[in-house]
């Protein structure tokens, strides 16, 4: 039996045991085991279709047909009291394009019970202060996704679930967002961040590699490299897939 809590008694941010999710009568996540320790940046890496988004939706409690044991911040996923403690950013920017940036944030702030100064803070964190009065429909794709990220940062969520937050961003901005994630972790938050870009692995405290709805491997990048003898995350991923297929064929 693996431990449910950290040494100091904090429950893991996410703990999944035998989680299965069916979509359209087909299991897209099947028998998934996973631990996201508290106060870490955990990267959820895997190709498109590996079940990352479905897993994240299950964690934030909007995915139907989830079975198995899925605990979030020590509570069953989807518990109403978790909704105040989560920040979720969907893969496509879920923002109102016919509102300004500030209007979007003020609505989310009203629901999260966050104040106006919090709106200013998150705008600054995603570097959109200069765009506050602009309609979202006039923003670029990358800017829209930053508005979406800013909405997830409102309040002080204990767990941030971010679905591909850096996709399509220029490298400078990507670096500044990963710096922001590290600062949030240092402030005591837990982060589950998905990406299909393997080179973002080095910015995560811990990695979860997913393929075909299951966890291929989890651990620090260093551990995975030692285990596979690879030199980077992509190499480790390929080595693990090959090993799994060899085991399956045998």
């Amino acid at each position: 039996m693996r431990k449910k809590v950290d040494a100091d008694g904090t429950p893991a941010a996410v703990r999944a045991r035998g989680v299965r999710v069916e979509r359209g009568g087909r299991p897209v996540v099947d028998g998934l085991d996973l631990t996201v320790p508290a106060r870490q940046v955990v990267g959820l890496l895997g190709p498109s279709g590996s079940g990352k988004t479905t897993l994240m939706r299950a964690v934030v409690g909007v995915q139907a047909h989830v079975t198995g044991d899925l605990q979030v911040l020590g509570r069953p996923a989807g518990s109403p009291d978790l909704r105040r403690r989560l920040g979720y950013m969907t893969q496509s920017a879920s923002v109102y394009v016919d509102l300004t940036v500030a209007e979007n944030l003020r609505y989310a702030a009203a629901i999260q019970g966050a104040g106006r100064d919090d709106v200013a803070r998150v705008l600054d964190e995603v570097d959109l202060t200069g765009h506050a009065r602009q309609l979202v429909s006039t923003l670029s794709g990358g800017e829209r996704s930053r508005v979406s990220l800013a909405m997830a940062l409102l309040g002080a969520p204990d767990l941030l679930v971010l679905d591909e937050p850096t996709v399509g961003l220029d490298p400078v901005l990507r670096r500044s967002l990963w710096d922001l994630f590290a600062r949030l972790r240092d402030a005591g938050r837990s982060l589950l961040v998905s990406s299909h870009v393997m080179d973002e692995a080095s910015r995560c405290d811990r990695l979860v590699l997913m393929r075909d709805g299951a966890v291929l491997a989890e651990g620090t990048l260093g551990e995975l490299l030692v285990r596979t003898g690879a030199t980077d995350a992509e190499g480790a991923f390929l080595a693990l897939v090959d090993a799994a297929q060899a085991a399956g064929a045998a």
């Binding site: 979509r23 359209g24 939706r57 934030v60 409690g61 909007v62 995915q63 139907a64 047909h65 989830v66 989807g78 109403p80 909704r83 105040r84 989560l86 979720y88 969907t90 893969q91 496509s92 920017a93 879920s94 923002v95 109102y96 394009v97 016919d98 509102l99 300004t100 209007e103 609505y107 989310a108 009203a110 629901i111 999260q112 019970g113 309609l135 909405m151």
Partner: protein, 243 residues
């Protein structure tokens, strides 16, 4: 449920409308155009006096149903509803917030179309004009509520636009406008009693004929019940978890 969350939603929907001048213009002016055409066509007869109030009641139901079902479908497809459902806001706050925002828009629509009908087209309402506005607003809220509930059935835009004829047109056929209800086949007359537009048309016809509150309160009460029922259906069909 929380009044703050509901009002935040209302404010947000109204802000969206504020940025969409064309939609607001269409909502406010289109009924006037259509009513103007009727007035012009039947100039010199009492058709406008008899049927004008019914049209004034019908527009908000139709328009608000369409606008709400498209708006809600947009929330579902763009992921904004999914994000809302991860937040503390209640389902009822979302539905009632929407209904309230569209009630505000509908009140504007009703006032403009009633003003246009009476002052520009010379519609002569025998009953109280204020009551006519109230019925029109109730119709609008009903339209929003049905739109919210109906959009749960629609997965695509194609389906959403076809919900309007599916939900509204059968009511137009049986509401007593095409044929007095007491002349209908008995089964259809019973069906008409279960549909909200029947009561809206009944109330408006009474107001047009000069009846006051005492004569229409039954119909208005029935409409209010339909509004409550449709809102409850809208809340019930909203799902936090989706496949």
């Amino acid at each position: 449920m929380s009044a703050a969350w509901m009002l935040a939603t209302t404010q947000r929907v109204l802000a969206q409308l504020r940025h969409d001048h064309r939609t607001v213009a269409l909502v406010l002016l289109l009924p006037c155009l259509l009513l103007g055409l009727v007035a012009w066509m039947f100039d010199g007869t009492d058709v406008l006096d008899r049927f004008g109030p019914v049209l004034v009641g019908f527009f908000p139901l139709l328009v608000m149903f369409l606008v709400t079902s498209v708006a809600t479908l947009r929330e579902r497809t763009t992921g904004t509803l999914e994000r809302l459902m991860t937040m503390p806001i209640g389902k009822a706050d979302v539905v009632l917030g929407y209904a309230l925002a569209f009630a505000v828009l509908a009140t504007g629509q009703a006032l403009v179309v009633v003003g246009f009908a009476t002052w520009v087209c010379g519609m002569d309402v025998a009953g109280p004009v204020g009551l006519m506005v109230v019925v029109a607003v109730l119709n609008a809220v009903l339209g929003s509520a049905l739109g919210l509930a109906g959009s749960a059935l629609a997965r695509t835009e194609f389906q959403a636009v076809q919900l309007m004829p599916a939900v509204i047109l059968p009511q137009v056929v049986t509401c007593g406008l095409l044929m007095p209800r007491d002349q209908m086949p008995e089964v259809l007359e019973w069906v008409s009693r279960g549909l909200p537009l029947t009561y809206a048309v009944d109330a408006m016809q009474h107001i047009a004929a000069g009846s006051g509150w005492a004569d229409v309160r039954g119909a208005v009460g029935a409409m209010a019940l339909f509004v409550v029922g449709a809102l409850a259906l809208g809340v019930a069909t909203l799902r936090r978890r989706t496949p």
